[in-house]
Symmetry: C2
Subunit: 160 residues, 2 copies
């Protein structure tokens, strides 16, 4: 007979719960530690991580509808309005009407916004690389695979 867990084996069940909690704890700590490096880097340019996320998305994908950005960076509809307002005030982004849907707006990088994100992206990437440099290339590849699988599975549970 195998010794694997089943629902009538409290000891094995507890081991699974404990292992899961431990994973959650170290995942949260790892995320937090890397996030602090990332935020410190973008803060040098007077940006929050959310503002940076929008600039980065526009930099790589070109003009996007506000709703598209919203799904990408996971904020509420009020949040995306607030964030884009801030970027507009800073002169980094402008709103542009959508010809095919008069409810929707595009967010577009201004020349200043485009110059800023192009200028700071390399340093941002290096800050991230430095923050994760505690893992070898092989370990980073393994971690990426595991985190991708974990993230997709957990996100799928949400929508179910």
């Amino acid at each position: 007979m195998k010794t694997s867990a089943n629902k009538t084996m409290p000891a094995a069940r507890n081991a699974e719960l404990d292992d899961s909690l431990k994973l959650w704890v170290v995942l949260a700590r790892a995320y937090g530690a890397v996030a602090r490096h990332m935020e410190a880097e973008v803060a040098r340019h007077e940006l929050t991580s959310m503002e940076f996320g929008i600039l980065e998305a526009l930099h790589h994908k070109g003009p996007m509808l506000l709703g598209e950005i919203q799904k990408k960076i996971l904020v509420t509809s009020g949040g995306i309005t607030y964030l884009v307002d801030r970027l507009v005030t800073k002169g980094l982004v402008k709103r542009q009407e959508c010809p095919s849907d008069r409810r929707a707006r595009y967010a577009v990088l201004t020349p200043a916004g485009s110059a800023l994100i192009s200028g700071i992206f390399p340093a941002h990437a290096q800050a991230i690389a430095r923050a994760v440099s505690g893992l070898s290339a092989r370990e980073r590849a393994d971690a990426t695979k595991l985190m991708r699988k974990l993230g997709l599975a957990a996100a799928a549970l949400t929508t179910e």
Copy 2:
């Protein structure tokens, strides 16, 4: 000659940056997806994740100084005052003076707080276990090892 990266090989350097960014993206997504499950669970009991973190710490470690909790859950000094105030208002925690240092206060679970955290912790643990159940036991063990290493290394960089 080996083909490994060095500082004069732009292509290899870019590969390392790209891999690091990819790890950061999937790490952030995995953390966010699991965190949402965790927060949805504690929200069922009218608690934020920070409030839950305090109750959990007190549950497992007994009375703690506010400063100890602050380091553990990583909030500012203003934040710990605010959070403990809220828990006191809810009747879950009380402050207690420290006999050896009149500046310091202990946070102590009230009977109601103790009953609450004992009652909801099992469901919390199961919610986490469910959220990370997309990985096998082996994968969870691997992920735990990698995240611990990553977290410690990234945190060490901060203090340097």
